[in-house]
């Protein structure tokens, strides 16, 4: 058990080319406030292909969860999408009516919420909650509901007898698995996960990650996975998106970003982890905290905390420049400078 080799399929694979399942273009979200609104997500571009695993990392308050909510069309006032589009299989979710969205929700894309442990209803059984979801989005007979509920629960490695259980009778790991099972009821094309493992300890966390990856290989859905723990997705995601202060600061193949992070912020996040192997060295983390998005700083948003900041970083705002296979929002990677 402890020494069984991890199956080959778990290693990230190249995504199949073709039309992306999800294509986010220039997505901008603002929270209405007195005076200027708070721009929590600022011009994010992202495409997710069939069966791809995209990791989204960054500190708290960087707009990761807001972005997910915007993609899933779950924002509620004072937050609203003020620009850009979210194309799901070529159709723009932003301009859809609630009725049009209802057809897609849960059938074609589903969401696993943050602290999934507490997201289950404590006063009804697992079966009742699965039934609810199935009846809200489709027409099924009783026996079909029972059969499908048992199927998805088995899929995530929980004995179907637990359909009759209440959430408090399940362990944290099992509750999390049940949430994922619920998201898979209709075998959607896209599952959006917001820190689904953050309440678990490392052993349970790892087996859950492996399981998500296995299910993904088996069923072919794409995953957008948000976490503040960068090391968690290192072995599981195909594409990595690093967010800072509402913007994408680095995006590219996960392995490339981990092996040679281009943006100083990605490097800082990576260096903030003590390792269990190698020499014990003193680490520093990233000094300071993310800026107030109500008053984003001039120039590069990271310059105040950046160890390699230059004078012009305080005045000139960098764009997302290509650096090999990745994109990096840092003046160091400005094409002119690369040539010079």
């Amino acid at each position: 058990m402890a020494n069984a080799p991890v199956p080959e399929i778990l290693f990230p694979q190249r995504p199949a080319p073709g039309i992306p399942v999800l294509d986010v273009r220039d997505l901008t979200v603002e929270y209405a406030a007195d005076g200027p609104g708070v721009r929590a997500v600022d011009g994010v571009n992202l495409s997710v292909h069939k069966g791809e695993f995209v990791g989204v990392v960054g500190e708290s308050g960087c707009g990761k969860s807001t972005m997910l909510f915007a993609i899933a069309q779950l924002l509620s006032p004072p937050a609203s999408i003020t620009g850009g589009s979210v194309l799901f299989n070529g159709r723009n979710l932003v301009t859809m009516t609630a009725r049009q969205l209802n057809v897609l929700r849960w059938r074609d894309y589903s969401v696993v919420m943050q602290s999934a442990m507490n997201a289950l209803n404590p006063v009804t059984s697992i079966a009742a909650q699965f039934r609810d979801a199935l009846q809200a989005h489709g027409n099924f007979s009783r026996s079909q509901i029972a059969q499908r509920s048992a199927e998805v629960l088995t899929l995530v490695g929980i004995d179907p007898v637990h359909l009759a259980s209440y959430p408090h009778q399940l362990s944290g790991g099992m509750r999390q698995r049940a949430m994922i099972a619920m998201a898979l009821l209709f075998t959607p094309e896209l599952v959006i996960m917001d820190e689904p493992t953050s309440a678990l300890d490392v052993v349970a966390q790892r087996s859950l990650m492996i399981q998500i990856r296995e299910l993904q290989q088996q069923l072919g859905f794409a995953v957008v996975f948000v976490t503040h723990d960068m090391s968690l997705v290192s072995h599981f995601s195909d594409q990595l998106l690093v967010m800072y202060a509402g913007q994408v600061v680095e995006i590219g193949p996960t392995r490339t970003v981990f092996d040679s992070p281009a943006h100083p912020y990605s490097r800082g996040l990576l260096d903030a982890f003590p390792s269990i192997r190698g020499k014990r060295v003193r680490l520093t983390g990233i000094p300071g905290s993310p800026p107030d998005l109500g008053r984003p700083p001039q120039g590069c948003r990271f310059h105040a905390r950046c160890p390699v900041a230059m004078d012009e970083c305080a005045s000139q705002e960098p764009a997302l420049y290509p650096v090999g296979a990745v994109g990096s929002r840092c003046l160091l990677h400005r094409p002119a400078q690369v040539k010079a």
Partner: protein
């Protein structure tokens, strides 16, 4: 030399269910811990393994079911008077997990520190208390200290609040700080800063720490000695580097293999482990890890393995003991 703090067969059981229930939850069973002066000891284990119960027993929040705690060679049970127990609480304060709910939101942060000082160091007058508050806040790396002291908790970030938690504990001139998951609620990028605060306090102020965590990598970063807990038992203990270099107990091995390490390729192991917690309500005899253990043999089902109290590195495992 007498250790700073020592426990002997420390045990805590909780009754669960109604008044007539015979079910008991074995949170901590027969735990022997030694913490020396100027030492950082890490206690790691999964949630529900009894780590926090140990911290609360040491902080005298709970009374042990059996066993004893010795502080500087004296049994805590013998400390009956109010003054004695107050001295102990000042010497061994606790830092809590959640910096968002452990500070009083209605007062500036100076309030908590000054009140603690008035209680535990009555020899100081008002001006001296304020100076001491400024000193401890500076020691934990918050500047400008005088201004920080007058802020309310909501004006501070999570990392800053947790530093205030450490400053409060430090104000009592402690010998040992019980830190129960002090960084797990914080963002990864600022955790390191707080771990450095712990290392510096040991260096500069000579304070010992019991660092309770489920994150073995951060335990390695700060600790001298490591204790691994599973289902109420200490299953392995020893010098941190020795334990990590050659873990003897299969649970420690599982724990280590599950740590995500972006610098290393995906390690083998843990693939099929469900990570389910063991049964600690009316536990059966035998090793509590045996149902998840790849090495389990017959004797594991009947005899509870005891930690071989070797000179340094010990593990509570029949198979590991046989291999020695």
């Amino acid at each position: 030399m007498t250790p700073l703090l020592q426990t002997r067969k420390l045990t805590k059981h909780f009754k669960v269910g109604g008044n007539f229930s015979r079910r008991t939850l074995h949170a901590v069973d027969d735990v022997d811990i030694t913490i020396d002066a100027n030492e950082i000891v890490a206690l790691v284990g999964e949630s529900g393994s009894g780590k926090s119960t140990i911290a609360r027993l040491l902080a005298r929040v709970y009374k042990p079911t059996s066993g004893e705690i010795l502080y500087q060679g004296k049994s805590l049970q013998s400390m009956r008077s109010r003054r004695q127990s107050q001295t102990y609480r000042g010497d061994v304060p606790m830092v809590f997990q959640d910096p968002f709910s452990s500070l009083n939101p209605a007062y500036p942060v100076a309030h908590g520190i000054m009140r603690g000082l008035a209680l535990h160091r009555p020899d100081l007058d008002r001006g001296q208390r304020r100076r001491e508050a400024v000193r401890v806040v500076e020691t934990v790396g918050l500047k400008p200290a005088a201004q920080i002291l007058d802020r309310y908790p909501y004006e501070l970030s999570g990392g800053q609040r947790q530093r205030i938690g450490f400053a409060q504990a430090l104000a009592y001139r402690p010998t040992l700080i019980l830190a129960d998951e002090p960084v797990s609620m914080l963002d990864v990028s600022i955790r390191i800063g707080l771990l450095n605060v712990m290392a510096d306090l040991r260096e500069q102020e000579g304070v010992s720490f019991l660092y309770i965590t489920h994150d073995i990598a951060s335990a390695r970063y700060v600790s001298d000695r490591l204790m691994v807990m599973y289902a109420g038992h200490i299953v392995e203990s020893g010098p941190t580097e020795a334990v990590l270099a050659a873990p003897r107990h299969p649970y420690t091995q599982l724990l280590l293999s599950a740590v995500p390490d972006p610098r290393a390729p995906l390690a083998v192991g843990a693939g099929t482990d469900k990570g389910e917690p063991p049964r600690v309500i009316n536990p059966e005899p035998g090793c509590r890890f045996r149902r998840r253990c790849p090495l389990a043999v017959e004797v594991c089902a009947t005899v509870t393995p005891l930690s071989e109290l070797g000179p340094a590195h010990s593990a509570a495992c029949h198979v590991a003991a046989a291999q020695l």
